[in-house]
Homo-oligomer: 198 residues x 2
Amino acid sequence: MYFTPPLAKLIEEFQRFPGVGPKSAQRMAFFVLSMSKESVHDFAFALTDAKNRVKNCSRCFHLSSEDPCELCKNERRDRTTMCVVAESRDVIALERSREFKGTYHVLTGLISPLDGKGPDQLSVRELVNRVGVEEVKEVILAINPTIEGDATVLYLTRLLKPIGCRITRIAFGLPVGADLEYADDVTLSRAMEGRREV
Amino acid sequence: MYFTPPLAKLIEEFQRFPGVGPKSAQRMAFFVLSMSKESVHDFAFALTDAKNRVKNCSRCFHLSSEDPCELCKNERRDRTTMCVVAESRDVIALERSREFKGTYHVLTGLISPLDGKGPDQLSVRELVNRVGVEEVKEVILAINPTIEGDATVLYLTRLLKPIGCRITRIAFGLPVGADLEYADDVTLSRAMEGRREV
């Protein structure tokens, strides 16, 4: 034990974060000690405040301090297209691209039997409800091309098809700026598969 | 503005830390939201607790929650050799090597006129006092071989020489496990300069 107990505890706390190893945790803890008392207090407050106030929107399950969230409340969003994503951070990524103007639905995860995650642990029932009640014409599945993602897409498609709306999935292929030579086989075969008339 | 205000604030707070960019800050903030309320509270408490309780030891200026610190209080440490370091984390690094059994003195920085840091901003006066009062026979300067480090060593040597104790500086040379071929010129010339009889 080289660190004085409160400092050791703080380093341990920082080390729990993703991507933070012992060295970074140590650096961050020392940085805290070099901050002013007010800044440390502000940071501690920001932590508890975010945890207390940010909840899943009761309609779309996006993380927000308001309920319904800013996106659900926005009257200018096109309510006929709904984008289904796995996580709240995917909403942020899509919003950043400024491409999509419809509404969102966050599944809060993907179907993954290995992690004990089935449709009941996700907001699937609420999605089916919304698609039935709201006048949704197209459901866009913006879900990662992984095993869990593909399984979830398959499950959702079977569930939503009978409702009668259009169901699409975002395109997979070569990312913009990438080089064909260095693309992996699966990406290339997906890109061939998804080829379009020019 | 894509994030809900409390979340945006938290991301901003994380981004202030050294080595944390926008992406890592976002990841860490989302991690906070996925933690239990108790864990977030514990983390917030650890922050303010470390800031409130960890102070510079009044004798050696090492960061500690006790005063005098654990190292100064330890009766088994050899009080005839004193190791002078720039920062508290240097004490930790040396303690980890288990090589040194004497006492420490943390300067809380190095002389750096460009950053407006002179000897008065460091614990230099307290060092001179300690060397005079305590029965120190050897002062080991474990200070980085940088411009600021060299300037500080020069300054301290002039100040401490008249007191009559032995003054040494840690060796510089090839790090253990390194390859001569890839060592930089300055390190190599320092290694040649510091050569010893075998």
